[in-house]
Symmetry: C2
Subunit: 176 residues, 2 copies
């Protein structure tokens, strides 16, 4: 299966969640057993052998791909969540969204100083959430090995925001 | 690794999210590479060879374990989410929570008639969410093979609510 095949399994929903947005829907990729397996394997192949200690997934579609990568690598999986959802002591990082500030949280004891961390989400758009997530991990002493995505939307220039990190994605969508 | 070892990696947070609740926190299990791997393997071992076509995970901790099971089985993964989060046509099922009604949604085209579906969540408490999730799957013609959990809280009698389904869990917590 090629990246083109992966892309063909991702559905586009026009005008969702609001008019003018072309939403890229990975549910059609992951409900396809072969498509899901190959997408995970391609992400894994890029990062295997890079000495990763921990995988961090961003709520909630990042959990789907991140958990599989953690399992395949035999490493721990750390969840990065929206505020107020984690029960123990957390660290928090805020970022700007279209209509104001938002933030992400992670358990303070989830990553050890010096851990090499792979960050995982489904989609790179403006990069705001991932950039905040990376700050969280660094706040507790983790080192970012890379940021993995299934989809990148290059027009939104998330790469600029994540400039200092390695980025890997399976497919691009540009206004089609 | 035994079920006792799995249990020892789950942290209890007293009085969260509110006074009197002993919250069972699986983040300490999944951040442990061995613990996470073994928990997934134990769930897989119970369901392998049962002709499962699709795995359905309930938002959002159910995504962590469900995605790994789907990957290991080479089958599709379907997400069951809180209302308003899925972009295409959905089916919906409501249930009673402590302070009023709530509901879960799934894409209407995510499961085919006759598909044998394994349902996955992290925790069986009152069983309300899982029971509604099972109704969703049946509404589109899916057949429930079983409901898999990492943790069961037997005192909350979720088994009674899920009486007609096969239930499998790795560990119990009873007021300790």
């Amino acid at each position: 299966m090629t990246k083109h095949d992966i892309k063909s399994k991702i559905r586009t929903i026009p005008d969702w969640p609001k008019k003018g947005v072309m939403f890229r829907d990975i549910t059609t990729l992951i409900k396809d057993g072969d498509g899901f397996r190959h997408a995970c394997d391609m992400l894994y192949d890029h990062y295997k052998g890079k000495g990763i200690d921990v995988i961090a997934g961003i709520e909630s579609r990042g959990f789907v791909f991140g958990a599989v990568l953690a399992y395949k690598m035999g490493k721990g999986f750390v969840v990065i969540r929206k505020p107020g959802k984690l029960p123990a002591e957390t660290v928090s990082a805020s970022y700007e969204k279209e209509y104001g500030p938002d933030s992400v949280e992670m358990h303070a004891d989830s990553i050890k100083k010096g851990d090499k961390v792979l960050m995982v989400d489904d989609l790179l758009a403006t990069g705001g959430t991932m950039e905040a997530a990376c700050r969280l991990v660094q706040k507790v002493g983790g080192k970012i090995v890379g940021c993995a995505f299934v989809i990148e939307l290059p027009e939104l220039r998330g790469r600029n925001v994540l400039g200092k990190y390695e980025i890997f994605k399976l497919v691009d969508f540009e206004g089609e």
